[in-house]
Amino acid sequence: MELTPERKQSIRRRLEPLLAALDPELKFIEVFLDSSRENLAVVAQKEDRPAVLRLDFVRYVSMPEAELRDTITQQLRAKGLLDSAK
């Protein structure tokens, strides 16, 4: 269920600026994979409100930046962590 440190770092490097661009208060906290190795969990946090975002791990690897941004934006909006205007 745990990713290698290198993999974690690469995901972090990719998602941290993306989250900050959406909302500077959004912090990247942690990332882990489930036992099926299909679901990637990205834990982000704004103030004291954590959110667990779900990404398809296989698609994530080849997902274009725009699509990744849309997927994350959509989930954050659904959880009320991002204004619909952004």
Binding site: E2, I29, E30, F32, D34, V43, Q45, E47, R49, P50
Partner: protein, 622 residues
């Protein structure tokens, strides 16, 4: 710290010291009482009313305790005879009830079988309320007798009432046999001293040793004009004197405490009780008239009679002491009636099931505890004032009498037993008579507090229906009729941690044994040990991801609960298992220093439907 059965040493020692060692279920039959002991347990409420029923009649006839009677004092005699006749009807009715319904339950059972559920609930609710009031009134009246003798204690009356209530509760929690043994002496002392008062008083009167009754001004002038006000006054006197009937119901409810043949023994005990009640009540009423005693604020009628008949010597003080004890012990009858009625209603799922469970000493200890709690609440709310509590009395018991007798009329119509016609007639007359008394009591005492009971009864009936509906819904939801076996459960185990130690590693290992997906979570409230924790984590549990949440407002609870909620929706798991690492300290007082977050977390997660909470405990050796 703990025994094998999980009870702490100290708690077990205290419990055994206060209420005794647990009794085997097999010895239940040994707890059943012979008539002599059962009478002591069940008679105190009813017999205690002879201490004040006559006074209530005289107070009503004098319109509030002035010495001058508004109607002739001898009216108390026919009123007393009328109450005696009503007692006879009610007692015959309950005697028949005990044979027809030997499992106990009294008015509730009779009404349920013959009049339907709503009537049964009205009867049950009325009696439960009345049992609570009996406890509150009798304890308060007993302590009032004490504070009259020692006025300096008056300001502590509420605390004294609560102490007396606790003593009666503990005595009853020791079991039926032990409480009977404790209360046998005071009850029989009262019976003997009250009979001595009546017999010696009547003998002295007939031997002409005392003056004849002083005629009342109204009687002397011959100006008795019957009008509405006078009828109301007489009815009020009759209704007030009907306090003598309270407590009869308890024998019918408590059939099961009698040795076999239970119905026969219970009926015989009831007849003996009624005979004693009738003779003592009528004897005291007659004596009050013969000796020209009128109610006085500073001294009770029984006390005045005792002083006149015996003089202010030791016999008088024995009578007064016994009267005070019987007033307090009147509460004891409710400790038999309330838990048994509550258990019958709980078996029917109208009250929480715990009330049907027998405790360590084979008594319904949960019912007793509930009765004490509610009575204590009433005593505190009414500032331990008998005057404030008395108007609440009697509405409930006469509602139950009426429904019980009406139910018995239907019962006789359904059976083919010999004598059913005259039996039905007795019950019908009794039902009409008690219904009339009920109306009079409700009207006369409405503004003085009876309205509260008229509101409380339907509220309790509604609550009982809601309890039953809840059990019905639980039964339906738990039913296997529509059960579909799920596919393999998929769940993530979330382990909240505060640091890295043996206890945490134990919880992590357990979580890994039940799920392939384990996540640890901690909340950083601004300390500088974050990096140290991460370092330890990578050393000891590198295969389990650790989520370190930040808490800018220093709350551990909010981020943690939100994270668990988020995990619940993350990948459509069937359930989330929250594995909580916990300390179990060696000593009970050490326990208070640990696990506060765990306690809180378990409570907070209680109502989340897809969250399973489990504790992995680290037992401390020292």
């Amino acid at each position: 710290m703990l025994e094998e059965d999980g009870e702490p040493h100290m708690w077990r020692w205290l419990k055994e010291f206060l209420i005794g060692s647990p009794l085997e279920t097999a010895s239940l039959h040994e707890q059943r009482l012979p008539k002599k002991s059962a009478l002591a347990v069940l008679a105190s409420d009813n017999l205690s009313s002879t201490a004040y029923a006559t006074e209530e009649i005289l107070l009503a006839l004098t319109a509030g305790g002035t010495a001058a009677f508004l109607v002739p004092a001898y009216y108390s005699i026919p009123i007393g005879l009328g109450i005696g006749l009503l007692t006879l009807l009610v007692v015959i009715s309950y005697g028949q009830t005990m044979y027809a319904y030997p499992t106990g339950g009294g008015a509730y059972t009779v009404a349920k079988e013959n009049l339907g559920v709503t009537s049964a609930l009205v009867a049950g609710a009325s009696l439960l309320i009345d049992y609570v009031l009996t406890v509150a009134v009798s304890v308060t009246a007993g302590i009032a007798a004490l504070t009259s003798a020692f006025p300096s204690l008056y300001s502590h009356r509420v605390a004294l009432c609560l102490v007396a209530l606790t003593v009666v509760l503990l005595a009853n929690l020791r079991g039926v046999r032990e409480s009977a043994a404790i209360f046998l002496g005071p009850v029989y002392l009262f019976i003997f001293s009250a009979y001595a008062l009546v017999i010696v008083g009547l003998a002295r009167y007939w031997m002409g040793a005392t003056p004849a009754a002083a005629p009342s001004p109204a009687a002397a002038s011959g100006e008795i004009l019957w009008n509405f006000a006078l009828v109301f006054l007489v009815l009020r006197a009759f209704a007030s004197g009907c306090a003598a009937l309270t407590g009869i119901e308890a024998v019918a409810t408590g059939v099961k405490i009698f040795q076999p043949p239970a119905s026969r023994n219970a009926a015989l005990t009831l007849y003996i009780l009624a005979a004693m009640l009738g003779t003592l009540f009528l004897g005291i009423t007659a004596l009050a008239y013969f000796y020209g005693v009128s109610p006085r604020a500073e001294e009770t009628v029984v006390s005045q009679l005792g002083r006149t008949v015996f003089g202010a010597g030791p016999v008088y003080y024995v009578l007064q002491g016994a009267t005070m004890l019987i007033l307090i012990l009147a509460a004891n009858t409710s400790f038999t009636g309330f838990p048994r009625l509550a258990s019958v209603m709980a078996q029917d799922r109208f009250l929480p099931r715990q009330l049907a469970n027998l405790g360590d000493r084979l008594v319904f200890s949960n019912g007793m505890a509930l009765l004490s709690l509610v009575a204590a609440g009433l005593i505190i709310a009414f500032d331990a004032s008998v005057h404030n509590l008395i108007p609440l009395y009697m509405v409930g018991v006469f509602t139950a009498f009426t429904l019980s007798q009406a139910g018995m009329v239907i019962h006789w119509r359904r059976t083919r037993e010999r004598g059913r016609h005259w039996r039905a007639s007795v019950n019908a007359i009794g039902a009409v008579a008690t219904a009339l008394v009920l109306v009079v009591v409700a009207v006369v005492k409405f503004m003085h507090g009876a309205w509260l009971i008229l509101v409380a009864i339907p509220v309790l009936v509604l609550a009982c229906r809601r309890v039953r509906l809840h059990y019905y819904q639980v039964g339906r939801e738990m039913s296997l009729a529509d059960y579909e076996k799920p596919e393999e459960l998929r769940h993530t185990a979330v382990v909240p941690v505060a640091g890295m130690n043996k206890m945490v590693l134990g919880a992590i290992e357990y979580a890994r044994s039940i799920s392939k997906d384990v996540v640890a979570v901690t909340v950083n409230v601004g300390g500088d040990d974050r990096d140290q924790l991460l370092e330890q984590w990578h050393a000891w549990a590198p295969e389990v991801p650790l989520v370190v949440l930040e808490s800018p407002f220093r709350s551990i609870h909010r981020p943690l609960l939100r994270f668990i909620d988020e995990m619940e929706g993350w990948r459509d798991d069937d359930v989330i298992t929250v594995v909580i690492p916990e300390f179990v300290a060696k000593s009970w007082w050490h326990q208070f220093m640990h696990n506060q977050t765990a306690l809180w977390l378990r409570a907070a997660l209680l109502f989340r439907p897809h969250v399973v909470v489990t504790s992995v405990r680290q037992h401390m050796k020292k």
